[in-house]
């Protein structure tokens, strides 16, 4: 029997400050290398049932829990915060509009990432590409008035990060997305495959190749 791969706590109650308690969700993992979709856990079934019944509290909780992470993923694809927010909001709007027949395939989180990825593709087709956001370190910024200790280390770090992000930004979108889902979100190959529509084996190979490609930028010996 496969061990649980991810535990994310979801609650279900609505706290007095307006924020919902996080919910618990467990993703059952299939065997490595298989392309079969990850099954939806029982906790997700309860969430889906509540949303389908028009439970605004459940929908709010889902939105607040997942929206920031989904937007940050969409930024990887669209390279625009505004477009990423709009694309992600559109996904949730469609869910709510069609809630009575909402039946996500697999875990809800994977469904949301997949939906955002698809919506991002639609957005890209419909919008002119916005300016690439220099989201990370590397700018030469005049320092503060007081003497600055450690500025050399900071500049060196900024230069490394700049080279890293330039290499990642140069990747095809699918690989960039896989790298983000793997290294920032900590997803398994099967989860990424369910989102990107690839085979888990292919995702694993892609990520290994990205690591090797980064070696050219970061140096070091990798077997």
């Amino acid at each position: 029997m496969a061990e649980p791969a991810v535990e994310l706590w979801f609650g279900g109650s609505h706290a007095d400050d307006g924020h919902a308690e996080p919910w618990r969700r467990v993703v059952a993992r299939g065997n490595a290398g298989e392309s079969s979709p990850v099954e939806r856990p029982a906790e997700d079934d309860a969430l889906v049932a509540r949303v389908r019944a028009g439970d605004g509290v459940a929908f709010d909780a889902l939105f607040r829990e997942e929206f920031p992470g989904l937007v940050r993923f969409a930024v990887v694809l669209l390279q625009s915060v505004a477009l990423a927010e709009e694309a992600t909001a559109e996904v949730f709007l469609r869910i709510w509009r069609g809630r009575e027949t909402w039946e996500p395939r697999g875990p809800v989180r994977a469904y949301l990432f997949r939906a955002v990825r698809n919506q991002a593709a639609n957005t890209r087709r419909g919008e002119a590409r916005s300016l690439t956001l220099p989201q990370r370190a590397g700018d030469t910024i005049p320092g503060m008035g007081a003497p600055d200790v450690g500025v050399d280390a900071r500049v060196e770090r900024a230069e490394i990060e700049q080279a890293l992000w330039a290499a990642i930004d140069a990747l095809p979108e699918a690989r960039r997305a896989a790298a983000y889902l793997r290294w920032r979100e900590g997803m398994e190959y099967e989860e990424i495959a369910a989102i990107t529509g690839q085979q888990a084996v292919a995702v694993k190979k892609q990520l290994n190749r990205i690591v090797i490609a980064l070696r050219d930028v970061l140096g070091g010996t990798i077997e």
């Binding site: 890293l164 290294w183 970061l218």
Partner: protein, 359 residues
């Protein structure tokens, strides 16, 4: 000293994804000690896009507003757009352009919407308002242009018989006034009036600040307070209250008009002042975990509209980490040195497979 065993690409991938066993982590960490660039990279990808600000509450509110509007068959705009509106019967016509910030229409609030039109009558009167993080450009029928900074409300009254233009301002705006020989352009801020006959100037006076400023870029303006009038020519600037007009020190033209050109320029400015200005223009409430940092001085430039770039620049400038709680951003001093301390994911699965550990 032995060189650490190089990890495989697969192991590095698992390490970056925080899916290693403890033994595997130790192997990678040992290797990272000799390859600090990879240590920086591991840290960086673990925080990938963490500085991207996400307006969760605002987007949820907008979504709910849209759903409510659909239910009541009203159209609610979901994203900024430019439009032109013609006013029947002639007279003033204004073109109102939004900034890229998301809009939340507050139904029922007189000044809550970024555009509000009333059927015009003589004298013609229009009210325009921006929220935090928004800018707006208003172009009058006579060619005069008003650029509104965030949190600004203006009422524009035009006398159709004389062409006189009377603007009541709360907030900050830059004016590019078309010449009109017999019809002055007057800006009223509290009890102070600024009268022009064709010029470019900026006026600033927020409701929560008793001190305002006037900066003249071209032409001349006459500023009257408490019965006393001062004439300002191009390149001159003054601070004022309802009873006094005073010459101010270190008041540069760029600092008060740069926003009209898409930039916020800070020259030897206190961090507290910079953060207050950024709050006004981007809508984020920046809070310093170390209050003493507010008294430090910085020199930098931000490009308006580039929110993520602003966040990253601020992060680098102050060497801070950012913690987001919707629109509240807490700035905490970052670590100076690169460490190999592994950032722990919320939950770590335990793998039982016998993965290769550095061939």
């Amino acid at each position: 000293m032995l060189n650490p065993t190089p990890p495989s690409s697969e192991l590095l991938d698992r390490y970056l994804a925080r899916r290693c066993s403890a033994a595997e982590e130790d192997v990678v960490r040992l290797w990272l000690a000799s390859n600090p660039a990879w240590a920086v990279a591991a840290d960086a990808v673990g925080q990938w896009n963490d500085t991207v600000p996400v307006a969760t509450n605002a987007r949820l509110a907008a979504l709910k507003a849209m759903v409510d509007a659909e239910r009541t068959a009203l159209a609610v705009p979901s994203k900024p757009r430019a439009f032109t509106r013609g006013v029947p019967g002639g007279g003033s016509r204004a073109r109102f352009l939004y900034s890229a910030a998301a809009l939340v229409v507050a139904a029922g609030a007189v000044f809550g919407a970024a555009r509000l039109f009333r059927p015009h009558a003589a004298p013609e009167s229009r009210v325009y308002a921006t929220q935090a993080g928004q800018r707006a450009l208003v172009e009058l029928a006579d060619g005069s242009r008003l650029q509104l900074a965030p949190r600004t409300t203006v009422r524009v009254d035009v006398d159709p018989s004389t062409g006189a233009r009377d603007v009541t301002l709360v907030g900050e705006a830059q004016f590019d006034v078309a010449p009109h020989a017999n019809a002055p352009f007057v800006v009223r801020t509290g009890l102070v009036t600024t009268r022009v006959l064709g010029t470019t100037f900026a006026v600033r006076r927020y409701a929560d600040d008793p001190v305002g400023q006037v900066v003249v870029t071209s032409g001349k303006v006459a500023v009257t307070a408490n019965g006393a009038t001062t004439t300002l020519a191009a390149g001159m600037a003054r601070a004022f209250t309802d009873s006094l007009i005073a010459l101010t020190d270190s008041l540069t033209d760029a600092a008060y008009t740069d926003w009209a050109h898409g930039r916020l320029v800070f020259t030897h400015a206190r961090v507290s002042v910079v953060l207050a200005r950024l709050k006004q223009w981007y809508g984020y409430d920046f809070r310093l975990a170390d209050p003493a940092m507010g008294a430090e001085y910085v020199t930098t430039t931000f490009t308006l509209g580039e929110t993520t770039q602003m966040m990253q620049r601020l992060k680098n400038l102050l060497s801070v980490r950012m913690e987001f709680d919707d629109s509240v951003v807490t700035l905490r001093p970052a670590r100076e040195s690169v460490t190999l301390e592994r950032r722990t994911a919320p939950v770590r699965p335990v793998l039982s497979s016998s993965s290769e550990v550095g061939r």
